[in-house]
């Protein structure tokens, strides 16, 4: 009966069609890493390049979904989600680089003539603690930032600008060698994860499957949230915050919950991105990255759950094709795409699909 505006393509295009489409996509995503395990001369073999590329795009899809939860539902446009993504990535990177360094110091620290690890590196050789950091670093930062921002009732464009400033500040901080995260080179040259060779086909396949699992999990969580009363309160908050307050709801708690959840999802996506791509550096925190994430969501259609995934997939798919075929024209293409969507597809690609099907 009562559905929030979040109705996914499912409700409009006929549940059967969507279920089939989702099933096919999921089957392909599960099959890809398995095909990567085949011998390299096999006809069905999926190359490491393809697998890594798609794995990377899936991580971006999770970011898009996380951003959509705060922007599409709660109306908070964050232009700093790249920061949370990078923090998760760095937490994972700390573990990976210590795995590679064995008992010694990571190479970049030796270059700086440091003799011991800074205190915040304590325990990062443990995978479990690194996983805790993946959640805690973006989560706590989002909690503190959100607490003060929402308490001061910062909204709209002011909120966007502050998140943008936050990620920019993060980038400048991580660029410094003294911060202890490898300066502008960041971390790279990972060799092992949990004792396994990070470039082995099996490891890649598992990492890819973990990404698919996280994406499916996030999608399920988003769906559950959107259909709960909580999701409807968020929508109400986006459209008429004052009215909601006079109904007796305190918007701060609601905003904070979804904001922190979104940041943690980004952090997890970042943690899966780093071992697959093999590098993390401060440019991940650059404001343009976060803005690009907003473009994915806008293009796919915000306020729906499938839309942002389509957006992230489309833009990044095109990006990897363009940057190979016509490298110098990619930014023009992106700008053109954004203009077209703004002018002709206010509800994004998903809006177009819905219109077609109804």
């Amino acid at each position: 009966m009562s559905l929030p505006i979040s109705i996914t393509v499912a409700q409009k295009a006929g549940p059967k069609l969507t279920a089939t489409a989702l099933g096919v996509v999921l089957t392909v995503l599960v099959a890809l890493p398995l095909l990567h395990l085949l011998p390299a001369d096999s006809a069905m073999y999926v190359s490491a390049y393809t697998l890594t590329l798609i794995g990377k795009i899936l991580c971006y899809c999770i970011v898009a979904l996380a951003l959509d939860l705060v922007w599409g539902y709660a109306g908070l446009l964050s232009l700093g989600h790249g920061l949370f993504f990078a923090l998760g990535g760095y937490a994972m990177g700390m573990y990976l680089i210590r795995q590679s360094a064995g008992d010694g110091l990571p190479a970049f620290m030796s270059f700086l003539a440091w003799t011991e690890l800074p205190w915040y590196w304590y325990g990062t050789s443990s995978f479990l603690w690194a996983m805790c950091l993946v959640v805690l670093a973006p989560g706590l930062l989002a909690l503190v930032f959100g607490f003060f921002a929402f308490r001061s009732r910062i909204k709209g464009v002011y909120f966007s600008i502050m998140t943008q400033a936050l990620t920019f500040a993060g980038m400048l901080l991580f660029f410094r060698n003294e911060t202890g995260f490898g300066g502008n080179n960041g971390f790279t040259g990972f060799t092992r994860i949990l004792g396994f060779d990070i470039t082995a086909a099996g490891t890649r396949a598992v990492l890819f499957l973990a990404t698919v699992a996280l994406l499916v999990g996030s999608l399920y969580l988003g769906f559950k949230l959107a259909r709960s009363k909580f999701g409807r309160v968020l929508t109400a908050l986006r459209d008429a915050e004052n009215r909601l307050m006079f109904c007796g709801y305190d918007p701060r708690g609601y905003k904070l919950f979804i904001w922190v959840l979104s940041a943690v999802l980004c952090g997890l996506a970042g943690a899966l991105y780093v071992p697959q791509v093999g590098i993390i550096n401060p440019s991940e925190m650059s404001p343009t990255n976060s803005i690009e994430a907003a473009v994915w969501v806008a293009l796919g259609g915000r306020g729906s759950l499938i839309g942002p995934l389509l957006g992230a997939g489309l833009v990044n798919g095109m990006k990897s094709w363009f940057t190979v075929a016509f490298p110098e024209y990619w930014l023009f293409a992106l700008g053109f795409l954004f203009i077209v969507v703004t002018l002709f597809l206010p509800k994004g690609v998903i809006g177009l699909l819905r219109r077609k099907s109804s």
Binding site: M1, P4, K229, R232, R238, N242, L244, G248
Partner: protein
């Protein structure tokens, strides 16, 4: 005191709280257990002053609303009607003055959310509903229940709550549109939806800012009946320009002018008051 003679300020509450109205309050009393209405006054405003950049929106405003009373507030534009509602609901803090809900709740120290939870509901001048949500969902969100994040995450409508929403949908005649997005409703329907949201919220004091603006005559008449049936169980404060409507519902009328009370009494008394005539008909 000010120009108006004292007895007119101290209106007797329309209902004796120690008598039958105790029971009539029924469910509302459960929600606001802390609300002490021993003296029969649900809202007390004394010597309220509000100024914006030197402009005095409210000047020594004194107003008392009795339990179960239906009070109409009239006054020319800029008389401070909306500002007064803002003070009561915590949206605006007075520079000085006393504002109590019941005998004990100091409204000047409470947040908007706390005030709403304590049992004051408000309808805005411009109908404000959650446009992306359906009519049913609008009522669901407004309904009186725990409104914390946890509660919303786990919330599931009980049969009783559903029945209550259905009942209100019937009352506001929106049963047929229950699944329509509220943004698609007509102006009058939005007004009714917002009134419905107040009904399910079940506040003890309802503040209604121009509730019949944009309604047809039939709708206005219906609203009048609805409000009359609400008084007794709830206390109502209605700001309205439509004198016909005011005449059909009001026990008592308060005239505001330049941020303070100009006259108080029945509509006939107020309309006969020379100062009121002067203000309304111009000098």
């Amino acid at each position: 005191m000010r120009a108006t003679p004292l007895p007119e300020f101290m209106l007797e509450p329309a209902f004796d709280p120690a008598g039958s109205s105790r029971d009539a309050i029924g469910a509302s009393a459960v929600a606001a257990q802390g609300l002490n209405i021993r003296h029969g006054t649900i809202l007390t405003l004394e010597e309220i002053n509000v100024s914006f950049d030197g402009f005095k929106a409210l000047t020594d405003l004194c107003l008392y609303i009795g339990v179960g009373e239906l009070r109409c507030i009239i006054g020319p534009n800029g008389a401070g009607k909306t500002t007064m509602m803002d003070v009561i609901t915590g949206k605006t803090r007075p520079d000085s003055g006393v504002a109590y809900f019941g005998e004990t709740l100091d409204l000047t120290r409470m947040s908007e959310v706390e005030i709403a939870q304590a049992g004051i509901g408000r309808k805005f001048q411009k109908p404000t509903v959650f446009e992306a949500l359906s009519v049913f969902e609008n009522l669901e969100l407004a309904q009186k229940t725990s409104k914390t994040v946890w509660a919303s995450l786990r919330a599931k409508l009980s049969g009783e709550q559903k029945d209550r929403i259905d009942e209100v949908l019937q009352t506001i005649k929106l049963d047929a549109s229950r699944q329509r997005p509220a943004g698609l409703l007509s102006h009058g329907q939005k007004q009714f939806l917002e009134i419905g949201m107040l009904l399910v919220q079940d506040p003890q004091l309802l503040l209604l800012d121009e509730p019949v603006a944009g309604m047809t005559d039939a709708e206005t008449e219906f609203t009048a009946e609805l409000f009359k049936s609400l008084a007794r169980k709830h206390s109502l404060m209605v700001v309205e320009h439509d004198m016909g409507f005011v005449g059909s519902i009001a026990d008592h009328v308060t005239v505001l002018h330049q941020g303070s009370v100009l006259a108080e009494g029945s509509l006939a008394q107020v309309q006969a008051n020379e100062r009121v005539i002067e203000v309304y008909l111009g000098r």
